[in-house]
Symmetry: C2
């Protein structure tokens, strides 16, 4: 870490996000390329594997997400004039390396778990094969995207599991980085969330968006009746009225007076949600608004959602705990060189040898072993060729990139990923869906 580069002055006082993804990369990836170009080892064929050594403490499974975003980002992983100029000005690498980078375009192969799939400790969720120089520079980007999106999807999956058939609404944008928010909405949708508050996730990814009003809207008006009237006039009686700004029973009364018994929903955002949901349901029913739904939205996580299962709640809005991974804000995946050619061109497995942070060398296959009822029993990982399929094993690695071209679009399409998540969840043993802390739902077995 000694080669501090005096960074270049930013070209403008405030620069916008780069359309190139190439500099979303750690400095040392490029110095390694420089050293490997010099030694000649840059052209050795390599296999890099992305996996989590363990699940977050007590979790029973993880959910792969971000693969679609990653494939898109790899397509715009190009060192253009601006990127090269920045690297040159900061003296990050030498001229030969800059020449290599200017012509960089990923030319290798990538396999991975399809998006929405469950994963377990050691699952090779992404496998990159290329020469060293082309593969190593993708490390940071691969991990940034998969670690973030999988952390959110893994938390989201527990939430939608706890919510059962009741819809979950993603509304955490304000509690995470503004671009992470867009990715979080996408990951949550894959893991079964119904809608998001994030408009850019709607534009960019087609995630359905939803939302009506905050306390500010009520406080803006002289009283609650005026605010509710304005909202219903503008958004229709099907809207959701927020009823906890002053006094909940009084607000519910006004809401039904203003909107009538066809009022779409009321929202509770503070206090004891279970007690209030029962009281509000009784009140709504007594007022004849039997179809008016109750949405709750106050600091929910999967445990709070489960705790409200017995209450008359129709939808859950989840924010902070979703976008921060409900206690596990990163999936902790690593990107490791597991095999490379030697001077004779033979592929040999490699692995760090020290006591902790070990990995298993060699190119892997991965299967989900299922019993005769179709329930997952083990994550089977091995070196070399997968054993002949006996019909109960499901191959997990799919083709994503071949010779630098994206070929696996169907494995990362959003709607397909959402369906895959649902199917993958249905296949796991019942114990996977316990919220309590425990071991992974199925063991990882190395053949």
């Amino acid at each position: 870490m000694s080669s501090h580069s005096p960074a270049p002055r930013p070209t403008t006082a405030y620069a916008v996000p780069a359309s190139s993804a190439a500099l979303l990369t750690d400095h040392y990836e490029l110095t390694m390329v420089q050293a490997a170009l010099r030694s000649g080892a840059a052209s050795r064929r390599c296999v890099f594997e992305t996996f989590a050594r363990r699940l977050p403490d007590g979790r029973r499974y993880g959910v792969v997400a971000g693969t679609g975003r990653l494939l898109e980002a790899i397509e715009r992983f190009r060192f253009g004039d601006e990127e090269i100029a920045a690297l040159r000005a900061a003296d990050v690498v030498d001229a030969d390396t800059l020449d290599f980078l200017a012509g960089y375009r990923f030319q290798g192969d990538i396999w991975g778990y399809a998006e929405g799939e469950a994963y377990f400790p050691g699952s090779p969720v992404l496998v990159v094969e290329s020469d060293f120089a082309h593969g190593v520079v993708l490390e940071t980007l691969v991990l940034s995207i998969l670690n973030h999106d999988s952390a959110v999807a893994s938390a989201a999956s527990r939430m939608t599991g706890a919510a059962g058939t009741r819809p979950c609404i993603e509304m955490g944008s304000r509690r995470t980085h503004e671009e992470a928010a867009v990715a979080a909405a996408r990951a949550a949708y894959i893991a079964g969330f119904a809608t998001t508050s994030n408009l850019e996730a709607g534009r960019r990814w087609g995630v359905p968006t939803a939302g009506t009003a905050a306390h500010a809207f009520t406080l803006l008006h002289d009283d609650e009746r005026e605010a509710f009237t304005a909202q219903v006039e503008a958004l229709g009686v099907g809207t959701t009225l927020l009823v906890d700004t002053y006094d909940v029973p009084r607000a519910v009364e006004i809401a039904v007076e203003v909107a009538g018994t066809d009022l779409g929903a009321v929202r509770l955002d503070s206090g004891d949600l279970l007690v209030q949901a029962h009281e509000v349901r009784e009140q709504l029913d007594a007022l004849g608004a039997t179809g008016t739904r109750i949405v709750v939205t106050s600091d929910l996580d999967e445990f709070a959602i489960a705790g409200l299962a017995a209450g008359p709640v129709d939808a859950y809005g989840v924010g902070t705990q979703l976008v921060t991974g409900s206690g596990a804000p990163t999936a902790g995946m690593v990107y490791k060189l597991v095999a490379r050619t030697d001077d004779s061109g033979e592929m040999v497995g490699v692995a760090k040898a020290s006591k902790d942070k070990t990995s298993v060398g060699g190119r892997k296959f991965a299967l989900r072993r299922r019993n005769e009822r179709g329930t997952a029993e083990a994550e089977i990982i091995g070196i070399g060729e997968a054993p002949a399929d006996d019909g109960d094993d499901r191959a997990l690695l799919v083709d994503l990139v071949r010779d630098g071209e994206v070929v696996g679009g169907e494995h990362v399409a959003l709607a397909a990923a959402r369906e895959r998540h649902e199917a993958s969840m249905a296949e796991l043993p019942r114990s996977a869906h316990q919220l309590s802390r425990g071991e992974p739902a199925i063991p990882t077995t190395y053949l």
Copy 2:
């Protein structure tokens, strides 16, 4: 939350981040604008205040960061043709509201704490004054940026405090969203980190970048000597050699043989860092490499850094715990309407009245009260005019935007923010810098 919009199909299979920041916004901000335009309340003058109700559990202070990024984002908060088309296609708001948004340009005033400043519960870190429609739509973006960047800066500040004069290196890009990583590097730099691994933070913000090699580089070569030789030939003897791939003492021996006693540094990334640091220091000294530094980099947080204070460590590399806020990944700030005009044009304080989530109505001032030795004693917050300065109070709110124009560039410039953080830390009582859980270092007093 009932108005689900069928989101538009994304226009391309993979869209790049938008140059407009306008859709990094919750759906309900725009439906509130629609309803307020209809009721006429949209033109009421409003004061929105951004503050944290509490610090993360046990923290003694927070650090404001992100303000500079926010001012930049507000300048590109424009609903262009693409954004309007997306909102129309998804039927988010009506035609009148789209017309308003198409002409949107923030025209109000913004005050805030200067970047790098310490904050406490209730500190009004950002105050927005404008009509309702212009102010409410900024809520999501304001919170996304300040909550993320302040969470990282607050954690980073504890780490640099624990590290004392030893430099901290930010290397967490791989454990957070790829754009959050760039912002995290910036926030960490404000809070005293020396360098970052993130190349885009170098290009975009001028943060110094650093890095040399990973385990993959050693594993790529046939043995450690070959790898070290390649690295030293490419990067010079001042480089940092990673010595824990196989056997640390053997690697240190080879490192000094290859690079000589002028070797810049060795890096340890696994095992018992304190024990190893002592052993490696002894070995380096015995080999004559008395100037070779020791960099440690394995899952560090502020507590691990403090635990290594007695060891011969020269620099700390921090990743996961930095970018995830060391247990507090969001600062938990809220953006609340605290005052608005009534029909007579008089400004009146407003606040939610229910039991939890209370706020204090009215436009605030904020002072840091200091004793005669210059040590901070209280965060003084009040409504209306600040009391006459007796020389020991320091005003905390600075002008950032006036009539829609950024006027406070000097308060958010990166180098200035870094100096301000250092000065703000020096002013706090010693108890602020204890790592143990406790109360805020100074009380918040409402006048």
